[in-house]
Amino acid sequence: MLQEPLKRKTHLSIALALVFFFVIYPLLVDAEASYLVFLFYTAFMYVTLSQGWNIAAGYAGQVSLGQHAFFGIGCYVTAITWRAGTAGYLDPLAMLMSGAGAAVVAIVVGLPLLAKLRGDYFALGTLGLGEILRVAALNGGSFTEGAAGISIPSDVYQSIKPYYFIALLISVLTMLSLWFIAHSRIGLALVAIREDETAASANGIPILRYKILAFTLGAFVTGLCGSLNAYFVFHIDTAGAFNLNWVIMPILMVILGGVGTFVGPVLGVFSLIAAFELIRLLTPQLHPIFSGAFIILVTLFLPDGIMSYLTGHKNRLLHKLSPFKWLALNK
């Protein structure tokens, strides 16, 4: 794969040590008062969202700009089942249903889009999907309660700890599935599709099936995050649930870390959150401006991502992503 062949054992022990640290951290400090616990929670969520985008875009080369659609579906499924009384607070079944709802939409919409559209057109189509769902939720009448949104009774909130651990669990499970996929036949097939769809197809890879698989898996974990977010904010409206931030931030983090790499997105998530928080602490008023400037600086000086910097070989992959095949002579 793209990573340098460091010893697998070392990798595994670093990963275990990190997970162990994250598990005991909120038990050692006063979790409710700790800002860092909240930041970690946010980071776990973004790790999942980033890898959800990365599996389709980074590995299979299908750049989706519609992840906020799946996030929003997750939010709304949870909020509506909660309102109807079929789901309780932090109900695992409701969360799975939210993920499944997003996955079903991914399959239904993905079938025509992935079969017919390549590259940019697929990206534009998914962007359209997100906007359609947003407008539909806005006009959904009593079902989605329009612009006012659905409120979940917030008096059930007791502690941030359950959110923290659920987000950690989801992100670890996402990472594990991604690792197994990347190191299996499926992963090889996805990369083959990204590198050359026609050649992959000629070698007997059912490209549509694999593209749908990657896209749906990404949608599923994104829906899970949406569901957890619904339980966290207690109020779901279209502006929050279908916010473009849910697609833009993960993409930014993955590109910062390294597209199509396993560890890169995690590094991207933590470094971007750290950078944004620092900027926010130093200049509370100006921070959105610096966030914009930060994105510009990263793309100017680190366009290949952190991973390429660490492993020393350029992540040429970014240029191969089908929508953005750039001029061969201009490289």
Partner: protein, 297 residues
Amino acid sequence: MTTFPSASVFFQVLINGVLLGCMYGIAAIGLSLIFGTMRIIFLAQGAVMILAAYCIYWMATLSPINPFFGFLLILPVFLGLGWIMYKGLFQKVAKAGANPSLLLAFGLMVLLEHLMSLIWSPTTRSVITSTSTSSLTLGSINISVTRLIVAVVALIATGLVFLFLKKTMLGKAVRAASEDMSAAALLGISPTYVSAVTFAIGIALAGVAGVAACITYPFDPFFGFLFSLKALIAVAFGGLGSVGGPLVGGVMLGVLESMSAYTFSAGWADAVAYAAFLLILILRPEGMLGRRSIEKV
């Protein structure tokens, strides 16, 4: 659902849509040109439009200059701005690939939006012109004079870009580059020069669209993203990379929006537009006017 009570109401809605669509069209041409040579969706298009809108707002507020004069003023200023943006930011990043360029455009959008919001506050502004309230009456149809002027400017701008692309050597180079950049480079066309020219024209068109938007609509610093999306849909309607296509696409989008706003409700108009956008992407990804190109293996 409401049906049209008479032919004149139908024509009224149709004309409103065409006039609205012309504005989408100008922004869409810029987007399409930039896409043609750089292969990126320039997300900051809308933010650049709003920047132009603010320029006109302050010009009209602080000086007695007629806002319509802004069209002439914005054109050279934003041509220069586009050139500087390309040379300063995009030229280097374009070498690294089109994906970082897309990200750069996004960063630029965030930066511009928040800068404008910080400097000029997020209050909604509007530019009042001498023709804001006047309208022409043709039979039983009313046409807003401001919107008519906007539509005429859109047509002139499109015509100028069309002439530039068809009649000048540089325009020919731009067309060659958007057809096949490596082949164009083999023939001695400098990719960076052509990209810089195209980018500058794209930004200038965004500026013109911004002037058009600010004299017809109230705006705030974050209003631009909606326009980026609308321009994108217009481009998809007309076909990526052409000149006439996006204008027609913009008009189609405008008509579709005003028709569905009338027959369903204003809230659903956007959904109808996005749904049509998805359908067109799936059924005719080369756009309604585009030529079908055969992918070489």
